[in-house]
Point group: C2
């Protein structure tokens, strides 16, 4: 597919182009804008509006850069301007819970579809917002909320819809994974690992949501929704911080052939309606896919009754990776703007359990010969 | 989601149930039938018709088994009965090119959507059939044609649609992978590895399409379509058999830290419209994801300009895995039967190149520390 010249309002397939407004010009919003509004553009999508509280300062700062956006974009400091405009889809990239949730609601009520990278809003308000989207005959898509460019929301909700999923084990936070794999590789402290992650652009100024597992548990709650059809309040997920990990703990587990990763774990026993879910630093075998996941990568193993384990991994953090997921969602909406996306009927689990000490996770990986002999073990640090 | 009682014609969401007819009651067809027509069923899908040339013998053979299908299913030895019936979706699981392609065409013309596991038909006739489906306002889905339960068609065509893909490297044939990993593990001959794969149900009586790469190249042609928007005749893909590999070659490469896998490789240079594509046994490093892929598993690394490498792996062969993919497609159709799925505009590459001796494939894997130091190398055997 060749990029269209900016300003063309018909794609090569004679499909009307889809008009896009972006809320928030931070890491994610600016990466999406650069793809849609730069020299090449994305076939079928027109970036027409950008909202940011500091829109004009950010626009002016861009002017002298070679990556400048095209000049037809309306920049605004008022959300209402985007709401009242003729954009077909609003991309919510402001983060946080409010006003993001309220603005997503307002956009759907105004007849616009919404693409969001906001894991907290989807984890807390996903069911209600998806129901609103269905009532409005619009779409709400959130591939970018979980796993960066790794297409795990689609893999779980569509690709593996033909299975009955029983377990999801994953590295869902690229920042903490970059910190932990740095500690493993260099013997540095957590503070030093965090400083390095910030230096590389993999951590925000305040990384507490990453380090403490708050980010990963929101993503895990979303995966419990799309994978198990369960509505889980993220606050009910047993969540343990990596903040207290020391270099000596890495040395200890290394001697035993392992390393430490922040894992998100969810297992659903349908017969008891019992969910076990936690986010915690755990010891994983060096040969497992999780130990091999280094830097700001994400990885997930999804187990179904019929197909066994399916794995997926890839870039889990950063604006470019998140933009790939958001643009995939935009293209899905543009392809069929009248698609009916029924709101999911997620039920609450009867029981929610947390991490038990010394938890044994067998089959954590594709079975290499070593593992077939020895099995695999993940345990709480 | 709780399974519905068989015979309910409304799901819990008041969506009309989708009536399904299956063509072919072999490994794949019977696995799908067991899921749809067994004790539990799949919410929203009603299996109403089964066509097979030996339908009555197969039906009678099932009668005494505990896994018996429900008794409302119409069994027939005439395709025309399915065509004239009120099924909404036809699952094509007869394999081969004809009459499969002709029957898919007839089903679409009769106003039915089609789900197929048939890689040869999609690789050869996919563009024309997808255009026909669009004209008919129906859907043609083929997740089951590539990668078994591994949702690679969706990952490439939807999840990574927001990237510009440049390369796909994959193990796409579970049978040959089971043979090669058996040769690696036990030092056996190819004939012995094939016998073992047959014994385990991973190989058909005639495995020549697997061993010679004909199966993998059809799947690679499909991935070139959904990933690069290229129409590639599978016969133009440089394809080399694993049939001549001997135990001594495995011993040689083992000494150098590698092993041998049947890889499918495609790389697209958009500036030259040049596609490099081949299927061949190549040496891969022991630490790579491909060496770690053992038994009838599949694995793929998909590289994009923006998100870097995304990996996916899982069960690549067998009825249960293929049924997961086909049922995912059935559920997608059932969810929105009036969805518009525009036919893709795939163009022909200007240049098609094959495998060059000693090809160097860098970044074949998530970068472990060893690999960051040494790089990775795949070379023609």
């Amino acid at each position: 597919m060749r990029p269209m010249a900016v300003g063309s309002f018909l794609s090569s397939g004679n499909t009307p182009r889809c008009r896009v407004g972006i809320l928030g010009f931070g890491t994610v919003g600016s990466a999406i804008a650069a793809r849609l509004g730069g020299n090449h553009g994305v076939d079928g999508l027109d970036l027409t509006h950008i909202f940011d509280r500091r829109a004009f300062a950010k626009r002016d700062a861009l002017c002298n850069q070679p990556s400048a956006l095209h000049s037809n974009i309306v920049w605004t400091t008022r959300f209402e301007d985007v709401l009242a405009s003729d954009v077909d889809v609003v991309v919510e990239a402001i983060g946080g819970i409010e006003p993001a949730a309220e603005w997503i609601r307002a956009a759907l009520l105004a007849g616009k579809s919404v693409v969001t990278a906001n894991k907290q809003v989807i984890a807390l308000h996903g069911t209600a917002l998806l129901q609103l989207a269905e009532r409005q005959g619009r779409q709400l898509r959130f591939e970018a909320a979980v796993g960066g460019a790794m297409p795990i929301v689609r893999a779980v909700s569509d690709g593996l819809a033909g299975d009955r999923l029983t377990r999801i084990v994953a590295i869902l936070n690229g920042t903490s994974n970059a910190i932990l794999s740095r500690m493993e590789a260099t013997g540095c402290t957590l503070a030093e690992g965090l400083a390095e992650a910030r230096h590389r652009g993999w951590a925000e100024a305040d990384a507490s949501a990453d380090v403490d597992g708050i980010d990963a548990r929101a993503k895990l709650a979303i995966l419990c929704g799309v994978g198990f059809k369960l509505r889980v309040d993220p606050a009910r997920i047993d969540t343990r911080s990596i903040a207290q990990l020391s270099p000596s703990e890495f040395q200890d587990v290394r001697k035993r052939g392992g390393t430490i990763r922040q894992l998100a774990f969810a297992e659903y026993d349908r017969s008891l309606a019992a969910l076990t879910a936690w986010v915690a630093p755990v010891v994983v075998p060096r040969s497992s896919i999780f130990a091999r996941t280094c830097g700001p990568q994400n990885a997930a193993l999804i187990t179904g009754e019929h197909a066994g384990e399916i794995g997926v991994f890839g870039a889990g953090a950063g604006g470019a990776a998140t933009a790939v997921a958001a643009i995939g969602d935009l293209l899905a909406i543009a392809r069929d703007r009248s698609a009916i996306v029924p709101a999911p009927a997620w039920s609450a689990p009867a029981i929610v359990k947390g991490l038990e000490r010394g938890v044994r996770i067998v089959d954590l990986d594709q079975k290499s010969q070593e593992e077939q002999a020895g099995g695999t073990l993940a345990e709480a640090v």
